[in-house]
């Protein structure tokens, strides 16, 4: 069980505070799930530096290759880390005929709008109601993300378990980024929790 202070910051020796209010995008009233990402960069420092930009976007946690966990945004604040949602009913083979018909016209914007009219878990967790965890990891020349390190997976497993227990998040509501929106399928593909 994690201790979370009134600012939404985790108080635990394994979590280093590196809050960047510039990436916070308004109050998050409810947490429905967790989305696991890879940064696209090779060091935590490059992400932490970019978060200083007033228009920067990021996620709530950042895990360095050697396993150090940074908390980069308050858990009571949204961050824009998800992008447009894919239709969850497609993945779970439960789309209605009306949804199937609508999905025949390719439009990620319209698809996202339809999804956002639902409540999680009928849709995937979104910016409004999810915690984002970034794993430091670059995309290689062939477009594939590097493998997540064992140290990162150890930290990720601990963090996901603690957040799930503390905030009451079901294990079925933890996703890799490409599961919930249109992203490079190799992103976080080697993440394990």
């Amino acid at each position: 069980m994690l201790l979370i202070d009134k600012e939404g910051m985790v108080v635990n020796p394994r979590v280093h505070a590196a809050r960047a209010t510039s990436i916070e995008r308004g109050q998050m009233k409810l947490v429905s799930g967790i989305i696991v990402h890879q940064t696209g960069g090779s060091t935590a420092q490059s992400s932490l530096s970019s978060y200083k930009n007033p228009s920067a976007n990021g996620a709530h946690f950042l895990i360095e290759k050697e396993g150090t966990i940074y908390q980069t945004a308050s858990l009571s604040q949204q961050t824009w880390h998800v992008g447009k949602l894919k239709a969850r009913c497609l993945l779970e083979n439960r789309c209605t005929p009306v949804e199937i018909k609508a999905l025949k016209t390719f439009s990620p914007t319209a698809e996202n709008k339809r999804e956002m009219a639902k409540q999680a878990p009928a849709r995937f967790p979104a910016n409004q109601d999810s915690i984002g965890i970034e794993l430091v990891g670059e995309a290689q020349a062939n477009g594939s993300y590097v493998a997540v390190t064992a140290a990162q997976n150890d930290s990720l497993k601990w963090l996901v378990a603690e957040l799930s227990q503390t905030l009451g998040i079901a294990t079925t509501e933890v996703f890799r980024h490409p599961d919930v929106s249109r992203k490079n399928p190799s992103e976080a593909s080697t993440a394990a929790w």
Partner: protein
Amino acid sequence: MVGRWWIAAALGLAASLAQANDGCSAGSEFEPRLCPSGLPAIKQVIIQQNGMKSAQETNPAVRCDDFKLSVRQVRQFLTQAGEVDKQDALHQLDWSPCYASGEVRFKDGRVGLWQISQLRQGSVRLGEGEPVYLYCPACRARPFKQP
């Protein structure tokens, strides 16, 4: 004291005006902040790959044959696209498995490698550094899919 306050206020106003006048759009939850790319004028575009499917796409049903750009369309993309932050390119914008790629020669003598995806995202790599990440919401040529 009052004089110092006015100087501070004037400096703050100048800073905010500079930010407003940097040529960048504000951005939103699903549209990234776009800034002028600063790429030099184009001399020549060479297409090396067209209608390609990313090796990262594991779904065999996905086809990219319909994503074939002309030299004119590539030139338009590189001219009209704005620069986006790497984080926004990777996290905010939609990824497409379909892409075209090639070389671009600029009038200032520099040579770059470009890549453009079907969802109007692209990049230009000049030398060994990070590529310039691009997004072109204004590009509406037929091969592109509208988001």
